[in-house]
Symmetry: C2
Subunit: 346 residues, 2 copies
């Protein structure tokens, strides 16, 4: 029998975090444990409010789950198909169950989950995200991120130029640019992309609204830098139409409903000639460790969500000189997690 | 160290086999073994001549393979990416290595490969294929296939009506129709589909040339029965464009380069709203057992290639009343295979 437990857990941010659409100081999350024959698997739903899920919706979802029909946790497809069909939507809480199930699977097979997906372990350079802020704060954050090889820069507010100028006073590191749908005019967007290319940008993420289909198509055909879809790319069917609007896709467990669909998305995207960015929300080391298991399928990695919170209850991979050092622990790679010591803070 | 061995092995057919494009009495194949720390994995390339591979091309391909860089057979992605990139094309011999690698993986993890893919074991009804023939032979073959719940009927020659009439004199079983690109005129094709629907057909496979794009698009929009792509669907990128021409796809290991890509293809096809037919060539129980591991992802199963050969060197799953009974043996499910007892017949 597979037993499901969960705890509400609000992630507290080290610094207020601002992107094109707003600012926040915490992120609601729900932690999940699956237990089977004494073996525990851990998962997490991180739910930034703008995506529509909450501790209340996740708790309500989990209360509907009945796993009593499943007596073999390795029947992933049956279990996750059931979870998928319980209620539409709810991708983050579905991801929590998927992650816990994979953690359990890896422990039962005694292999790390990257091996379950046929992947090897490598050192993976993650970018460090710099939120929208005043130039002097930006410069301070850039210096604090000195060990990272790539910076992910949030633009799309009213001070894009000031932010880039501030960064370039401190470093000439390559930049991942994330606009979060912030630009409204396609000509202006293209102009900014040309300018950002000169400034050492590597790609541009979600420059305009995910619904501005003709603008995005136009921009993708003109841009000298790869355009990466984020808000416009949620689950596997979005990969099939992605090529009309994007050169790459940002795959996040909290959008994809977890590792299994994220794996298929990454494999399909690569075969379709799309670049793969592996991203995250503000998350504990649980979901970040899980996502990093797919690291070798990604062209670019932005798995820094655990670095910006003050109350991380899990320990995952080591980070060394901006590199994620994948460990060989079975499951998603958490070090001696202790469910009973995690105190809900709701 | 992973050691690779191979043997040429011609599959001898019980009966000459005729489809829209020709007739044959044997199928060239190459059997493959991978050995790692005393554990063996088996694979197979079956190469009907019209697809362009041969024992010579497969042997030449295998002679180029150097696995000495890989010391962990669970690093499937690295190994198969290397195999994929050695020479373009050659899907069947690539499948042979993929199948052997998965057989090895399952044995190393001590799980059947359906479990490695997160799938459960079920009893799966396979169709039995009836080649193009004279009505009296057709009637005999239909009676010989009495235990199967579905018949797969090859059409596209000049006697489609006579074949169906002969079948319907013997049985009212549901029919899978496979035209192998045999119909040349789209209006005539639609007429035949309407007639076949009345006659109890379930789907129509590759009614016209895979290159008759506008005809196929037209036909898919008009057909009251699902149109399934076979010759038009080879590998994962074809799934992405399949919806323009087909309602379903025939996934075969010998086209997809093996289990890993076939799994991704089936998962992606399902999420794209495409039906999945799991098919085969004339094959030994090795490749058939491997394909059946993906059985629960399929809407329709046509895994009877091992039943039509007289010199099958492997034993896989049981077949009972037309049902594939999946076993729980580790790997692809072969019973005590003995490599040294397999005598090459080239």
């Amino acid at each position: 029998m597979i037993q499901l437990s969960h705890k509400a857990y609000t992630l507290l941010k080290k610094h207020p975090f601002r992107i094109a659409s707003g600012i926040r100081t915490s992120t609601p999350a729900v932690l999940v444990r699956l237990k089977y024959e004494g073996v525990e698997g851990f998962g997490e739903a991180s739910m930034p409010p703008l995506y529509g899920e909450s501790i209340a919706s996740a708790t309500a979802f989990l209360s509907k789950i009945d796993l009593s029909a499943f007596n073999d946790p390795l029947c992933t497809e049956d279990i996750l198909s059931y979870i998928n069909d319980v209620v539409p939507g709810n991708p983050a809480v579905k991801a929590a169950i998927d992650i816990a199930l994979h953690d359990l699977t890896g422990k039962l097979l005694n292999i790390p989950i990257h091996q379950y997906f046929g992947l090897s372990a490598r050192s993976l350079p993650t970018s460090k995200t710099i939120g929208i802020d005043r130039p002097e704060i930006i410069r301070k954050k850039v210096n604090e991120a000195s060990k990272y090889k790539y910076l992910k820069v949030k633009l799309g507010g009213d001070n894009d130029h000031a932010i880039i100028e501030a960064i370039r006073k401190e470093t000439d590191k390559p930049l991942y640019i994330d606009v979060n749908q912030g630009w409204k005019d396609r000509n202006e967007a293209l102009e900014k992309i040309l300018w950002l290319k000169e400034k050492g940008a590597i790609f541009i993420e979600q420059p305009m609204s995910k619904n501005a289909f003709s603008d995005m198509e136009w921009l993708a055909s003109k841009s000298p830098l790869p355009i990466v879809g984020d808000e416009g790319i949620q689950r596997l069917p979005d990969i099939i139409t992605a090529k009309n609007f994007y050169h790459g896709v940002n795959i996040k467990l909290m959008k994809s409903t977890g590792l299994r669909e994220a794996f298929i998305m990454a494999m399909t995207a690569r075969k379709a000639g799309l670049k793969v960015l592996l991203g995250c929300m503000s998350e504990t080391s649980c979901a970040i460790a899980a996502a990093s298991q797919l690291g070798t399928l990604a062209d670019w990695i932005d798995l820094d969500g655990n670095l910006g919170i003050t109350n991380n209850p899990f320990k995952g991979h080591m980070l060394k000189n901006g590199l994620i050092i994948q460990n060989k622990l079975p499951g998603i790679g958490l070090k001696t997690p202790q469910w009973n010591k995690i105190i809900t803070n709701e």
